[in-house]
């Protein structure tokens, strides 16, 4: 069957390859930005590309368990890598904003408290910190699977906030942020009881 074949292939991909491929996108973007590949306004392009990639990784992370449950495709091995990469890209996204875009401490603070889309993005970032900090075997052992899983449910509000962040920063209502919010809502809905979350411990 196709799924068996796919899972067989997936098993052969080493985790470090995911980190490497995912991680290379950031230096590639910086290089593009420095050499004109991102157009005439590279700071904003860089900021946006990093944010969008972080969002894609977060959504991909959310899709991993439904993919196994509904389609039988097993990507669970990669979930930690995807999550940590996503957090990494959120950090670089934030750093570009701090260092290249706004460049001024008072303005940074003003933006965080006054601009809803920045506040929302910040909230998403803060929610992700404990998740990134506990995405290692030692934390998993220390917390125990139940508490660890409970803590990691924070990813749901975090991704929702990230989608909202996107939808509130654009001018007008273009299709992309709405489509992302729809995808996120769909993935979150799959977690609700009526949609048959298997009763695992």
């Amino acid at each position: 069957m196709v799924v068996v074949w796919i899972n067989d292939r997936l098993r052969r991909i080493p985790i470090w390859a995911v980190y490497l491929c995912g991680g290379l996108y950031a230096p590639y973007l910086f290089w593009q930005g420095a050499t004109g590949g991102l157009g005439v306004e590279p700071i904003r392009e860089l900021e946006r590309a990093l944010g969008l990639f972080a969002l894609k990784l977060l959504v991909a992370g959310l899709a991993i368990s439904p993919a196994r449950r509904l389609a039988g495709v097993n990507l669970l091995r990669f979930r930690r890598a995807v999550g940590l990469l996503a957090f990494g890209y959120v950090c670089v996204h934030l750093l570009v904003w701090l260092v290249l875009d706004v460049q001024s401490l008072p303005l940074i603070w003003a933006d965080i408290v006054k601009r809803p889309y920045v506040t929302i993005g910040m909230a998403a970032f803060v929610l992700l910190i404990p998740l990134a900090a506990t995405s290692n075997d030692r934390s998993l052992r220390r917390l125990g699977p139940v508490r660890w899983r409970r803590l990691h449910r924070l990813v749901y509000p975090a991704v929702l906030l990230a989608g909202l962040h996107y939808a509130t920063l654009v001018k007008g209502l273009p299709i992309q942020p709405i489509a992302w919010l729809a995808a996120i809502s769909f993935l979150l809905m799959l977690r609700l009881r009526p949609f048959g979350r298997p009763s695992r411990v």
């Binding site: 157009g39 005439v40 306004e41 290249l100 007008g172 209502l173 273009p174």
Partner: protein, 299 residues
């Protein structure tokens, strides 16, 4: 290339109408003029125009897509000949004015203006064009007219963005008559001496340098004189975010972001923001239009 002048003109140089005719100059506004008066010519603000590449590759023109490079990619298919501008409403000579006829009757000038987008990026653009007031005179504005309404071409076959409900097509804009007649207000038909590229609003577009870019409506097909304030596209979508006036004002923030600073396009990855100027640097020329008005309310 050409067009790299220093702005050593004083306010007196730029104000008299006659001084503008058939003459290339940089209008830097009072920020430059005041300085020039104090320290003498040569030390005034310089406005270095952005490159052709920058001006023609980074555009907001949703008729061709919402991405900044979409207009440059998709606007090639737009046919701009023949082109007529319908001038109607409260005018003595309403009708369809052919673009080439308009071009023959108007006095072409070069105006190097700051251009400030509501999204906080900015450019300096060497426009070619003519004063809107001259076009209005061609049609003869009637007493009692108080506003000018503008409309962009609606042609979904050539403007793919119009096939989607991104905005309420066609794009419309408006000015108070005194704003429209102000000598700084031009209809641009070119950049760097070349005809306006499609992505910049060919064949003719409005340029109001002291207002946010979305006021400067592109590819204009209709100009209507009215006695009531006309609806404007962004104001209809977000009345609390985009006002009818939309004057550049560093002290009145957009509800979702600050307008205090801007980033000039073309500075690369490490370019620094700079403070945004009141009325985009044209305070001396236009502040009197808004005397006694609360600019926080009339944003």
């Amino acid at each position: 290339m050409a067009h790299r002048w220093r702005n050593d003109l004083t306010h007196e140089d730029v104000t008299p109408r006659t001084a503008w005719l058939n003459r290339r100059q940089i209008i830097g506004g009072l920020a430059g003029a005041g300085l020039a008066a104090m320290v003498g010519p040569g030390r005034a603000e310089t406005l270095e125009p952005n490159s052709w590449e920058e001006i023609t590759s980074y555009n907001n023109f949703y008729e061709f897509g919402t991405g900044k490079s979409d207009p440059a990619e998709n606007a090639g298919a737009l046919t701009t000949r023949p082109w007529t501008v319908r001038i109607d409403g409260m005018v003595d000579r309403p009708g369809d004015y052919d673009f080439d006829t308009i071009m023959r009757k108007m006095t072409m000038e070069e105006r190097i203006y700051r251009f400030r987008c509501v999204e906080t990026w900015s450019m300096v653009v060497p426009w070619n064009g003519f004063e809107l007031a001259d076009l209005l005179d061609l049609a003869g504005v009637q007493d009692g007219a108080r506003y000018v309404a503008f409309e962009t071409l609606f042609r979904p076959t050539e403007m793919p963005g119009q096939r989607l409900p991104i905005l309420d097509w066609p794009y419309v804009e408006g000015l108070r008559l005194d704003e429209a007649r102000h000598p700084l207000t031009i209809m641009a038909t070119g950049i760097y001496g070349k005809p306006l590229p499609n992505q910049n609003g060919a064949p003719l577009r409005l340029v109001v340098p002291w207002k946010y870019g979305f006021k400067s409506i592109k590819s204009v097909v209709r100009i209507t004189l009215t006695d009531t304030q006309p609806p404007t596209t962004w104001n209809t979508i977000g009345p609390d975010e985009y006002g009818f006036y939309a004057n550049v004002n560093p002290n009145v923030d957009h509800p979702r972001w600050s307008q205090a600073t801007e980033r000039r396009i073309g500075g690369g990855l490490f370019s620094r923001r700079k403070p945004t100027l009141m009325f985009n640097g044209y305070e001396a020329e236009v502040a009197s239009l808004y005397e006694g008005m609360d600019l926080k309310k009339n944003y």
